[in-house]
């Protein structure tokens, strides 16, 4: 009886249900792009800014969006903003690089020995909560007015968060992965480079992001405090200088540049994340 039923069973035709797959309309597909939606929000903010500033009509306090964009263009093409950005980024990258190398060495030492582990924990507990900018007066005393002082506070800003997250990343690596590495004869620095760092990469990447954010804020703040040195200031100095000359549109141009670089770096980190952690299926 039941076999009869199976034999005579006919599935309902597709038309009777609905479309199997209907392509989305063009508008739906465009709106599905996150970039489009975010661009729309930016546009909205720019329009609001423009309307409010126009209504305020006081370029000394709050210039319009269009004035700021023109100032940005002028500062880049005819002015010195390009070289200011270069100065800031050069010093930032050197501080960032030194901080990362030191953090890696410290974390590797902590991974190898118990005393190293304690050293890292004590140092990060002490220095991680200490704002880098608070060290600036001391840095000025030790290294004088110049890049040395800024590099010192930058290294301080990067070193501790990166060391801390690298350390916790190393600590969470499964014993199995460690045994695999040692099974194939890896020891010392090779073990750190080929096993520990990639295995802890999700945590390390988080540390690098935090380190970058701390360093970037510290740099701009430090430049605002003592600005120009050896004839070339950074973006912070650019902002400070234009504020003194009441070129407020240029102040906004400087701030927009700071924001733009921050957003660009964020996208870069996102790209790295997609190419590594996401592709490897390593969640953190």
């Amino acid at each position: 009886m039941s076999s009869d039923k199976v034999l005579t069973f006919t599935p309902p035709t597709v038309e009777a249900i609905a479309d199997i797959a209907r392509p989305l309309s063009r508008a739906e597909r465009i709106w599905n792009q996150a970039l489009v939606r975010k661009g729309f929000i930016l546009l909205l903010l720019a329009v609001l800014w423009q309307l409010y500033a126009r209504q305020l009509n006081n370029p000394l306090i709050f210039p319009t969006f269009s004035e700021s964009v023109v100032a940005l263009w002028q500062a880049f093409v005819h002015g010195e903003l390009g070289s200011r950005v270069q100065t800031s980024l050069t010093i930032l990258l050197s501080g960032y690089a030194i901080g990362i190398v030191l953090a890696t060495l410290l974390a590797a030492l902590a991974n190898g020995t118990r005393l190293g582990n304690d050293l890292l924990e004590v140092l990060t507990a002490m220095f991680n909560p200490l704002p880098a900018i608070a060290l600036l007066p001391l840095a000025l005393l030790w290294f004088g007015l110049g890049n040395g002082s800024i590099t010192f506070v930058l290294v301080h800003a990067v070193l501790w968060p990166v060391a801390l997250s690298t350390h916790s990343g190393f600590a969470s690596i499964s014993p199995t992965i460690r045994m695999v590495g040692r099974n194939y004869g890896l020891t010392g620095m090779q073990f750190v480079l080929q096993i520990l760092i990639p295995a802890a990469f999700p945590a390390i990447l988080t540390g690098l992001k935090n380190g970058w954010a701390f360093a970037w804020r510290t740099l701009i703040a430090a430049e605002l405090v003592f600005g120009v040195s050896s004839g070339s200031g950074g973006i912070g100095w650019f902002i400070y200088e234009n504020k003194n000359q009441l070129e407020i549109a240029y102040v906004f141009a400087g701030l927009l540049t700071v924001i733009a670089i921050g957003v660009a770096m964020d996208s870069l980190f996102r790209l790295v994340e997609q190419r590594t952690v996401n592709r490897w299926g390593m969640k953190y």
Partner: protein, 261 residues
């Protein structure tokens, strides 16, 4: 003193101890057994018998508190590529490397092959476990059984003196486990590697081993060493299998009251 035929692996009176944060635990007590070339030796026992700890000691991750482990007459000191381990955890593959890179990495890191040769040898090894279609896949996209196959391929590509397997199929579903056991035996038929296999499954022990070391727990001690000759065509019938299983059950559980299992 030189004996005529010295065993490949000699575990002699090995006592293993490890420290937890509170106590010193004796995992095995004066354990002795030998493995010859091409043996498939199974360490079988309930949890707490120290079989995994014993395997780690052969792997060189632990130093015996007493006794000696020698491989071809040389004492084992530290981990090395002459004894490759396959673990139970599927996380033993490096997630940031593809299947092929995982195998090639082992060959390069251990100095078994140059960068160019490693790729070819890795592909050959992957073919023996029938995963050539997945050579460029990352481990997280593979099923548990496939991951274990890659781990076995990585191990065999190394051509180690001894293959050490720590319950490699325990985390797999029953059907996959059965298939993997058969495939492991096929691989053994092909290259006759020496295998030390840890399990707590009596069926698995009889199926895979030609020699089964029965261990009792707390601390791990050798109860008996059984020769399994299911390989012998005359012996391949169920009666023999059942008889063996009963023997093992009896040996392992005759004074079961003494243990907490």
């Amino acid at each position: 003193m030189v004996t005529a035929v010295s065993p490949l692996l000699d575990v002699r009176d090995v006592t293993l101890q490890y420290k937890t944060s509170e106590q010193l635990v004796t995992a095995t007590w004066k354990v002795s057994f030998q493995a010859d070339r091409s043996d498939r030796l199974v360490l079988l026992g309930p949890s707490g018998c120290g079989k995994s700890t014993l395997l780690k000691a052969i792997g060189g991750y632990l130093t015996p508190a007493e006794g000696a482990i020698t491989l071809e007459g040389k004492p084992v000191r530290g981990p090395g590529p002459d004894r490759v381990m396959v673990f139970q955890e599927t996380e033993q593959l490096l997630p940031w490397k593809t299947v092929k890179q995982n195998v090639a990495f082992a060959l390069i890191a251990s100095g078994r092959a140059s960068r160019q040769d490693a790729a070819d040898q890795a592909m050959n090894a992957i073919r023996t476990v029938k995963l050539e279609k997945f050579a460029d896949a990352y481990p997280h996209t593979l099923s548990g059984g496939m991951k274990q196959r890659v781990a076995i391929a990585r191990c065999l590509a190394m051509k180690p003196d001894i293959v050490l397997m720590d319950e490699p199929f325990a985390a797999l579903d029953a059907l996959t486990r059965q298939q993997m056991q058969e495939e492991l035996l096929e691989l053994w038929d092909r290259s006759k590697f020496t295998l030390i296999f840890v399990t707590h499954s009596i069926e698995e022990a009889i199926l895979l081993g030609n020699r089964v070391v029965l261990l009792s727990p707390h601390p791990g001690q050798v109860k008996e060493i059984l020769e399994v000759n299911l390989d012998d065509p005359d012996n391949r019938f169920y009666g023999c299998y059942d008889q063996l299983r009963d023997t093992i059950n009896r040996v392992l559980f005759k004074d079961v009251g003494d243990y907490v299992i």
